[in-house]
Symmetry: C2
Subunit: 304 residues, 2 copies
């Protein structure tokens, strides 16, 4: 049995995940917590990381590779960006070393799109892309990465050519909690209403300009015709995802369909949404992709 | 000089306005407060109204006509709806009398659109429409009524044929206060950035499906290229208004242009937005319109 070779960390805005990995890429231990960038900025990044390293009994010499918002200006150490067009292998050549630490800790850079009409940034998704597509990717891919800030990425022969961020997840969160629509979804249980969701996806896809009207419709419908809070919640979710898909699918779609990098409930919702529009998807698990991307990068950096 | 003939009240979700009016329709006194439906539901509608009536020394016998959310199910007394197609004069025939009050207090109904694919409701705007267009309106009008929940209304020969609510104002409020974009607009001063606003209106009008991407762009642009919080704020506002206009203007626009019923800063912003798209508008002051609508209704109900 192999001992640990390195530690991989996906450090997002609001979540922290750590894996202890051996030389063969096998996971020996895993940690998950809510100590994302926002929480760690208060508690101290070094202290948060050390507590999890201690919990998995990581040896003192073991190197750590981090991706995500820990490398933002407001994070631990700013890790810069690779600019588009961005070859994915360039990411692992620009890892920033955290200064003042005995242990070798590096943070992967993000990708920046310095275009005046479509400025955009990603941090963390570049590592998922690396894991999803590999270091030697060929051909064209249109990658949909749902989340708080969904990314749609065009990759050609392993180079990120263009991408767009949609704040779909964050909009769903504030719209369902902080607006008049919170009255319509209050008390929604776990039950799903797939018919409401798919109908909302299709309506929003066909008339994206009406987004703010379709959202309000969830409440009007309840006032005039009744309907469950779950139906209203799925209508909000379907409307916002349908508008995102109208934009994401507005260009050419590769023959293989859309590469969907997602996990859990989001993966399920987006598969339903693409299905409502009869668009083929090639699904890839997002959790696995980021771990694989970190492993590829760690192997390239420390296993020479 | 005439004595007071009636009291007119515009009782919205978050605002209360009262006018003491004489037989000739002249305003003798005015009151404005934040005691809208939400506040009054706690303090008691009768008590809030009485305090303002006392402040303007309204005689005990003076009748009171109310429009707006005070007539909602969650308001004072439910005033029902006139269903579309809704002739504006029908509104003043369905005023609901508040029971248990010695004084004659009536609340005007709203308008409901009981269509399965586009259910919608309004309360208060029907009275603005009455004031803006009059009891004997002829011809076609496309009316834009900006607000927390903007309404776009098609009126033909004095009958409301169809309308759509867009939660543009509420979206601007939660997006600029409760999302990551709050970082981009923090510290925005009163200064306006008209160029940013107009550019955002045009971009969103041309690609409404990209709304959630254009919003996020306000932050990416600041990260990569700098820019003031005011520019970011106007970009958010322009994006949301541009998407609304893409929907509102998607049908036929009457030769006379769009009838814009708005006041203050919103009137200014929407005039700029229509100007950016070279669409002609006929502006009507919203405050005056609602007072005129209430006066028309009061005259019809009590001056026979």
């Amino acid at each position: 049995m192999n001992g640990p070779a390195y530690v991989a960390v996906d450090w997002g805005t609001s979540s922290f995940r750590l894996w202890l990995i051996d030389r063969a890429g096998q996971v020996l231990a895993e940690r998950r917590s809510g100590e994302g960038m926002l929480a760690a900025a208060k508690a101290g990044f070094a202290a948060v990381l050390q507590s999890h390293l201690a919990a998995v009994e990581a040896p003192d010499h073991l190197p750590v590779l981090v991706c995500g918002m820990a490398g933002a200006r407001t994070g631990w150490v700013e890790a810069g960006y690779v600019d588009t067009p961005a070859p994915l292998p360039a990411i692992l050549k620009q890892a920033a070393r955290v200064p003042g630490e005995a242990r070798d800790i590096r943070i992967l850079p993000g990708i920046a799109q310095r275009e005046v009409t479509s400025p955009d940034v990603m941090r963390g998704e570049e590592t998922q892309l690396l894991g999803a597509l590999g270091l030697d990717a060929t051909g064209e891919a249109l990658v949909c990465m749902p989340g708080t800030h969904s990314k749609w990425v065009r990759v050609k022969d392993g180079t990120v050519e263009h991408f767009s961020t949609f704040m779909t997840g964050e909009l769903f969160s504030v719209v369902s909690r902080e607006t008049i629509l919170s009255l319509a979804v209050a008390g929604a249980d776990e039950a799903e209403d797939i018919a409401s969701f798919k109908a909302a996806v299709t309506a929003a896809y066909e008339a994206p300009a009406f987004a703010a009207n379709l959202l309000f419709g969830a409440r009007s419908r309840q006032l005039l015709f009744g309907g469950t809070p779950a139906a209203a919640r799925e209508a909000l979710s379907g409307t916002l995802i349908g508008v995102e898909l109208a934009a994401g699918l507005s260009g050419a779609v590769p023959e293989a369909g859309v590469t969907l990098v997602a996990s859990g409930r989001l993966a399920m919702l987006y598969r339903l949404a693409f299905d409502a529009l009869s668009v083929a998807v090639a699904p890839i698990d997002a959790d696995e992709a980021v771990r694989r991307g970190l492993s590829m990068a760690a192997a390239a950096i420390w296993t020479k």
